[in-house]
């Protein structure tokens, strides 16, 4: 079968570390052009992977490729993806698919009008563990879900190629938008829609490094999500049901603990498929790419279509609109005089 021609738009850390190496090894696609506003960055990667062309404007790929992976700074995801979709190019867009729900709607509409495939890079849905949790809950093994507790934080060390991830204008937000989108996507996918939410973060004119959410879900469960770029937290989900408790560590190949109520019986292990666990995060991204290509070939919806990608964008939008400051007493000791920056004081 002929390979699909693919453009990678945006050559930052995720393209360099994941998308390009994964696509380069794929039998299904051929990367024919790399796009980056800063051409030397694109050229360096093109040389390394033998990609024949580079461009500094994504519009140059229109008419020249079948599909594109959009891995630009967050604020460009929606406009660039929309433009590509409307030009008939299939797009796998990095998360978040957009910074506003209105943009999500436009993208979904473009898919309807053009028939192009839009896949959203909510890659954690491709973790074997995430799919395992989904099935455990759907099959009712835990009974009705009562509560959940997610703490995810590592002292930030993502090898960012530029400061775009840390600027409000380009990232749209901090840890909440960046990591939170994954966490909230899983939450909504596993446990269904929410009823109400309280949201706290520590942004004071820039992007938040820490945040907390208190959620009440329509299924009746309630719980907390805490995210951090400045602290190493527990890094796991705990989901409590009437019949048992499930704990899943964060990460692409985590340990899963399943404990049945009143029996004290615990199952701990890794989730495998066909006898194998994922060895590398790239294995997961390969499944995401394979699904994207198969959706294009089979004229079907991808595993994570725009409609699904929109759910977490909407929740984030709601949270940010009702944001309250996170309490950090050491930020504002009583012994010091403050009060000049409106909105920053808890």
């Amino acid at each position: 079968m002929e390979k699909l021609t693919l453009a990678i738009v945006g050559c930052g850390a995720i393209a360099k570390g994941i998308h390009l190496p994964v696509a380069a090894l794929s039998d299904l696609v051929e990367v024919t052009v790399l796009v980056d506003k800063f051409l030397p960055r694109a050229r360096e990667l093109a040389d390394k992977y033998g990609v024949p062309a580079v461009a500094d404007d994504y519009r140059d790929v229109i008419g020249k490729v079948d599909a594109a992976i959009v891995a630009l700074p967050n604020y460009l995801h929606a406009p660039v993806t929309l433009d590509l979709l409307q030009s008939g190019i299939h797009v796998l867009v990095e998360k978040p698919m957009a910074l506003k729900t209105s943009e999500c709607d436009e993208m979904i509409e473009a898919v309807r009008n053009t028939g192009a495939v839009l896949a959203v890079g909510l890659v954690r849905r491709f973790y074997k563990s995430s799919q395992f949790v989904k099935q455990i809950i759907e099959n009712g093994l835990l009974g009705n879900i009562l509560g959940f507790d997610c703490r995810e934080g590592i002292i930030y060390r993502w090898a960012v190629a530029s400061g775009a991830m840390l600027r409000k204008e380009t990232a749209g937000g901090g840890v909440f938008v960046d990591m939170g989108i994954h966490v909230l996507d899983l939450l909504l996918w596993w446990l269904g829609d929410y009823d109400s939410v309280e949201y706290y973060d520590d942004a004071m004119g820039g992007v938040e490094a820490d945040c907390e959410l208190y959620l009440q879900l329509q299924c009746g469960a309630s719980g907390v999500v805490e995210l951090s770029r400045t602290r190493n937290l527990r890094n796991s989900w705990i989901i409590r049901g009437e019949r048992g408790t499930l704990e899943v560590e964060s990460g692409f190949n985590p340990l899963v603990h399943l404990e049945t109520k009143n029996q004290g019986v615990v199952l701990t292990g890794q989730v495998t498929r066909d006898g194998a666990a994922d060895k590398n995060l790239r294995d997961v991204f390969r499944r995401q790419l394979d699904d994207f290509v198969d959706a294009i070939r089979s004229h079907r919806e991808p595993f994570v279509p725009g409609r699904e990608g929109k759910r977490s964008v909407e929740l984030i939008e709601t949270c940010l609109a009702s944001r309250q400051p996170l309490k950090q007493p050491w930020m504002f000791p009583e012994r010091l005089e403050y009060g000049v920056l409106e909105g920053a004081l808890p």
Partner: protein, 401 residues
């Protein structure tokens, strides 16, 4: 102290080292208290999430690159130079601490900056003795590469004051603790969790601790007080405490932590006995001298014979061996290898003599000069500073297993 009693409002300022502990808190207060227009020279964006919470300008660059520094300094009225190197080889530390400082000062001079606040350290005084210590004490090299390169950086700073009339003020903070403190909070908690800490002389030596916000208040004052130019100021809390109090307070946060009391003499003896057990050939002994005496090493490495030898070694030895030799030559960390401990018991780490000398003396750091000239007045006693530190440490998930 009323920290908002002077005005940096709207002033364009540059902070180097703004992604670090002291520089990071300085950035926060420049914005929260003074609404200053803050620019930060950022070497590594991965370390910037704390300051990215604010609306600041982040300029990508490195203090060791003059072009980067010039871009960052351009248009700034005040420069706070908090960047320092405490990692990598001695050469790297020297590059960051000494040449980095020179780059910042040269750029400040060129740009007509109105004030530079240079962050130095108590450690420029070398091993201190019992009794009062003020800024008239002689500066001394101690063999510790951080301290020695900071001393050289301070010399560069005063040289710019004298030769170029650059308005530089120098601050010498002591043991700075508080939220995010890498050594005196995160590091202490980590050690108390993983080893049995040695208290030198039962922890009777004096710890001249200062809470981060007091240190930052002094930095802010040094930026605006005319009389600060050309002067160095020791910055410390009001009253020293003992090292026993200092470590016990952290141990209390953890619920329990084991500490072992040993006399300085005992520790020095144990160290030299350990050293003597290693019978050495001449090559090994030479390497060891080179390792322990940076000045000797530098002088030898500068000879033409050494240059030739290095060149030959570089062309003949496989990369792996070259790197391992380099590591061995540079590492002075042998003493920090834990002694083997019986199972279930936490290890005791032997102490190098320079560390024993740091903990043993009952030195009292005087802050009269900072009070008189800067109007500095510490507002956090140890207990109130530690209360905030504990709240933070609990939130930061540092007090659990």
């Amino acid at each position: 102290m009323k920290s908002a009693q002077f005005d940096l409002s709207g002033k364009r300022v540059l902070v180097t080292g703004g992604t670090g502990f002291i520089g990071g808190r300085l950035v926060e207060r420049l914005i929260l208290e003074h609404k200053a227009d803050v620019r930060v020279l950022v070497r590594n964006f991965a370390r910037a999430p704390r300051i990215a919470r604010f609306s600041i300008e982040m300029v990508h660059g490195d203090v060791t690159k003059p072009g980067d520094v010039e871009r960052a300094v351009a248009g700034c009225e005040i420069v706070f130079h908090c960047a320092y190197g405490n990692q990598g080889s001695r050469e790297m530390r020297r590059l960051v601490n000494v040449e980095g400082t020179e780059n910042v000062l040269a750029a400040a001079l060129q740009a007509g900056v109105k004030r530079v606040v240079h962050l130095s350290t108590l450690m420029v005084y070398g091993a201190t003795s019992d009794g009062d210590l003020d800024e008239t004490a002689p500066r001394r090299y101690s063999g510790n590469s951080y301290a020695d390169t900071k001393l050289d950086a301070e010399k560069v700073a005063f040289d710019y004051v004298e030769r170029h009339s650059l308005p530089v003020a120098v601050l010498q903070p002591t043991v700075v603790y508080g939220p995010f403190a890498p050594v005196w909070a995160v590091g202490v908690l980590h050690r108390l969790k993983t080893e049995r800490m040695i208290l030198v002389n039962g922890g009777n030596g004096l710890c001249n601790a200062v809470y981060i916000d007091d240190a930052v208040s002094a930095i802010l004052l040094a930026a605006v007080r005319e009389e600060a130019v050309g002067e160095a100021f020791l910055i410390c809390g009001e009253q020293p405490i003992t090292w026993r109090d200092f470590y016990s307070r952290y141990a209390r946060m953890l619920g329990a932590a084991e500490m072992v009391s040993m006399s300085a003499a005992e520790l020095l003896e144990a160290y030299s006995a350990q050293e003597q057990r290693k019978t050495r050939g001449i090559l090994r002994e030479t390497l060891s001298i080179l390792r322990e005496e940076p000045l000797v090493r530098q002088r030898i490495l500068r000879t033409s014979e050494a240059a030739l030898l290095t060149k030959v070694a570089r062309s003949l030895l496989p990369k792996q061996i070259r790197q391992s030799l380099k590591r061995r030559l540079k590492s002075n960390d042998r003493a920090s290898q834990p002694r083997t401990a019986p199972e279930g018991e936490k290890p005791i780490r032997p102490m190098r003599p320079s560390v024993v000398q740091f903990y043993a003396p009952k030195t009292r750091v005087c802050i009269d000069k900072a009070k008189r000239i800067l109007g500095y007045q510490p507002t956090f006693d140890f207990e109130s500073g530690m209360r905030l530190t504990e709240q933070w440490a609990r939130w930061a998930n540092l007090l659990g297993e």
